[in-house]
């Protein structure tokens, strides 16, 4: 007999399985760290996972959806479905504190508060994830993936990725 507690435990198991999926471009971050994983709904033996895309054209989203289905199947959920929700729109503010630490340790400067984004020619200060110096410069607003910009540290001379605020 299924009790309420069992349902909660089962949902948690489904959530944990989905949350174990990592961003294929930034493998230190799980989709839970990113705030991409929005909801997990159990209905009998069917699981529906709601995710929200980061950038409109982010090619990682297809792979993430596929990997969620695989992870749930491995966890014993045979009927898993991934649904994309557009609203509310994803923002880098949803990146968890833990996720920001992991990013920095990986060598990517985490996004800054999104209130400076609107300035047409605003000055930003981004601290170097390697040496911590804030004497850094923007090399290219568009980096190796749609979510990153390319920066360089003037103190340690290392180039680094900056996760753009969005």
């Amino acid at each position: 007999m299924v009790t309420v507690t069992d349902d909660a435990a089962l949902r948690q198991r489904a959530w944990d399985a989905a949350a174990s999926v990592v961003d294929p471009e930034i493998p230190v971050l799980s989709i839970a760290d990113l705030g991409v994983l929005r909801d997990v709904v159990l209905d009998g033996d069917h699981v529906e996972v709601a995710i929200t895309p980061t950038y409109s054209g982010c090619p990682a989203m297809n792979m993430i959806a596929l990997e969620i289905e695989v992870a749930l199947e491995r966890a014993g959920f045979q009927h898993a479905k991934v649904r994309t929700v557009l609203s509310p729109a994803w923002t880098t503010d949803w990146l968890t504190e833990d996720g920001r630490k992991k990013l920095r340790a990986y060598g990517i400067a985490p996004p800054q508060a999104s209130n400076s984004r609107r300035a047409l020619f605003g000055d930003q200060t981004v601290a170097c994830p390697q040496c911590g110096s804030d004497k850094t410069e923007l090399l290219s607003e568009f980096g190796s993936t749609s979510c990153k910009a390319l920066w360089r540290c003037k103190a340690c001379r290392e180039p680094f990725d900056y996760f753009k605020c969005h």
Binding site: P53, L86, E141
Partner: protein, 258 residues
């Protein structure tokens, strides 16, 4: 071309969504033509990334259009199986890349408009359109900044870059009027709070253009004769060539998937 064009039930809301989707797809395709050819690596990545954003926006809008239409069309059919006359994009976005200045001026004119447009569309009474706009406006803010910085660098750069930037502005100016025009179907959607009235954005669009071109030591044309046609499916000769490349795989191998 062996595969027949799809039929689209062109209700005002479907046409409205297709116009926005076609703008994004065609401009995204144009930018993707720079991939591997841009003047430097950073710019190659920037133009390709912007293309990716635009094509992503187009996908959401096509999916919405197909849902509103309620037939068996989907994002792929709408992109790959409509012919020139069925496309509703602005003439501006189908103009050839030309030199780097032409590409960046085209991008600047469009991004300055799209940035305002998406921000206004976030208040649409249609929840899906509002959600698509909320994503797109974040992206367009970056696109506008990127293009603006280049306009200043080119205009206030060398004699040659200045000359080319000014030539691009003069060449593309006549295609900007179409951004602010609406037909009766779209006007009805504006009255219902679903669509954005582009005319209400023109003042701010012009202010952005004036600010950036002033700093770039460039001049905006005084000429106010404007070319129209794209919104009703009457295109320049360039779109057919673009579509033949964009659609060649689906036209040759119907239903092909990666």
């Amino acid at each position: 071309m062996v595969v027949a064009n799809i039929q689209v039930s062109e209700t005002p809301l479907v046409i409205y969504a297709l116009r926005r989707a076609d703008d994004a797809l065609i401009l995204g395709h144009r930018l993707s033509e720079w991939c591997g050819h841009a003047p430097m690596l950073e710019e190659d990545m920037a133009l390709s990334n912007i293309a990716l954003d635009l094509i992503g926006q187009a996908r959401e809008l096509y999916t919405f259009a197909a849902k509103v239409e309620g037939r068996d069309n989907d994002e792929d059919k709408l992109a790959y199986l409509r012919d020139v006359r069925q496309y509703r994009n602005l003439l501006l976005v189908e103009q050839p890349n030309g030199d780097f200045a032409q590409t960046l001026v085209r991008q600047f004119f469009y991004s300055a408009f799209a940035d305002l447009y998406w921000r206004a569309m976030m208040n649409s009474r249609d929840a899906t359109l509002a959600a698509i706009a909320a994503k797109s406006e974040k992206e367009s803010a970056y696109h506008l900044r990127h293009a603006s910085e280049w306009i200043i660098r080119l205009g206030d750069g060398t004699e040659e870059s200045h000359r080319r930037a000014q030539a691009a502005i003069d060449n593309l100016w006549a295609f900007t009027g179409e951004m602010f025009a609406v037909d009766d179907g779209e006007r009805a959607l504006i009255h219902r709070g679903i669509a954005v009235d582009p005319a209400s954005l023109r003042g701010r669009w012009l202010a952005t253009l004036s600010e950036v071109t002033r700093e770039a030591t460039l001049a905006l044309p005084q000429n106010d004769w404007m070319q129209q046609g794209g919104r009703s499916g009457r295109h320049s000769e360039h779109l057919g060539h673009l579509l033949s490349e964009l659609q060649s795989m689906q036209r040759t191998f119907p239903g092909l998937i990666w």
